[in-house]
């Protein structure tokens, strides 16, 4: 029972934060994104074709890059990028934490 309550709390908090984000994004875009559409037409809907795709689709074929919309298990460049960036962030934190500890040690010793 308590687990269900905890799940409920997590979902409520997530829904509140997500709701705020949704309202914020839609409010900031309502005056700019769809200004050209007449009232009554509604929002453009996703189509089966490429009609509404952005000009620079991230899944467009790139030379020397396997994969794409259907995957392909080619060279996992994005995975490597993620590992490298996380390592840099973690490394910087560890260096700062180590320097802080060292400075504290030096000031505490007479």
């Amino acid at each position: 029972m308590s687990t269900l309550f905890r799940i409920f709390v997590i979902l409520v908090v997530a829904a509140l934060i997500g709701g705020l984000m949704y309202v914020g994004v839609n409010a900031s875009n309502s005056s700019t994104s769809f200004g050209d559409f007449d009232e009554g037409e509604g929002f453009p809907q996703r189509s089966d074709g490429d009609e509404f795709r952005p000009e620079h689709d991230e899944f467009e074929e790139q030379e020397g890059r396997e994969g794409g919309r259907d995957g392909g298990f080619g060279f996992p460049g994005g995975v490597l990028k993620a590992v490298v960036l996380m390592s840099i962030a973690g490394g910087i934190y560890s260096a700062v934490a180590w320097a802080g500890k060292k400075a504290k040690k030096e000031t505490s010793t007479p």
Partner: protein, 162 residues
């Protein structure tokens, strides 16, 4: 070695692997990217449930004296949670595989795509810090789960490394 710690570690390894795969949708394909992300979101709830007592304790003591490291960890976890919600929400709004497969078609708003990219890049930074802050726990628990090193031995090893 408690079962909770073992479960936590195995769950976190699975979550991390899923996180890496979903960071490269060209590698996995769009359908895998979306379905795996939805599954990972459910797993994050379990991750939070396993750390529930710490979350409750820190929420009560967040303005207390001392606890600087724990406070920073707590704030970072909230940032990661909020960023995760933004990734999921923006991902759902631009979904081209999972939601249409469920018969749900949402209006297009390209701001969500930009937000999805930005929040995903930000998550790399926060995740790097999150892992760095828990590095000692990860290494200790990993040794205990996979190499059967007990608590006293890990303490000795840590002293030797220092």
């Amino acid at each position: 070695m408690s079962n909770t710690n073992r479960t936590k570690l195995l769950l976190d390894i699975a979550l991390f692997a899923a996180f890496l795969v979903t960071m490269d949708p060209r590698f996995s394909g769009l359908a895998v990217h979306e379905w795996l992300s939805l599954a990972a979101a459910a797993t994050v709830v379990v991750h939070l449930l396993l750390s529930w007592s710490w979350i409750v304790e820190m929420t009560k003591r967040i303005f207390g004296k001392g606890l600087n490291g724990a406070r920073m960890n707590y704030i970072l976890n909230w940032l990661l949670f909020i960023d995760g919600i933004l990734i999921m929400l923006s991902g759902i709004m631009i979904s081209e595989a999972a939601l249409p497969a469920m018969g749900i078609v949402l209006p297009i708003n390209f701001a969500w795509r930009r937000l999805h990219d930005m929040s995903a890049n930000l998550s790399l930074l926060i995740m790097g810090l999150h892992i760095a802050m828990h590095w000692n726990w990860i290494v200790t628990t990993f040794k205990r789960v996979f190499f059967g090193v007990n608590k006293q031995q890990t303490g000795v090893m840590a002293k030797q490394e220092a």
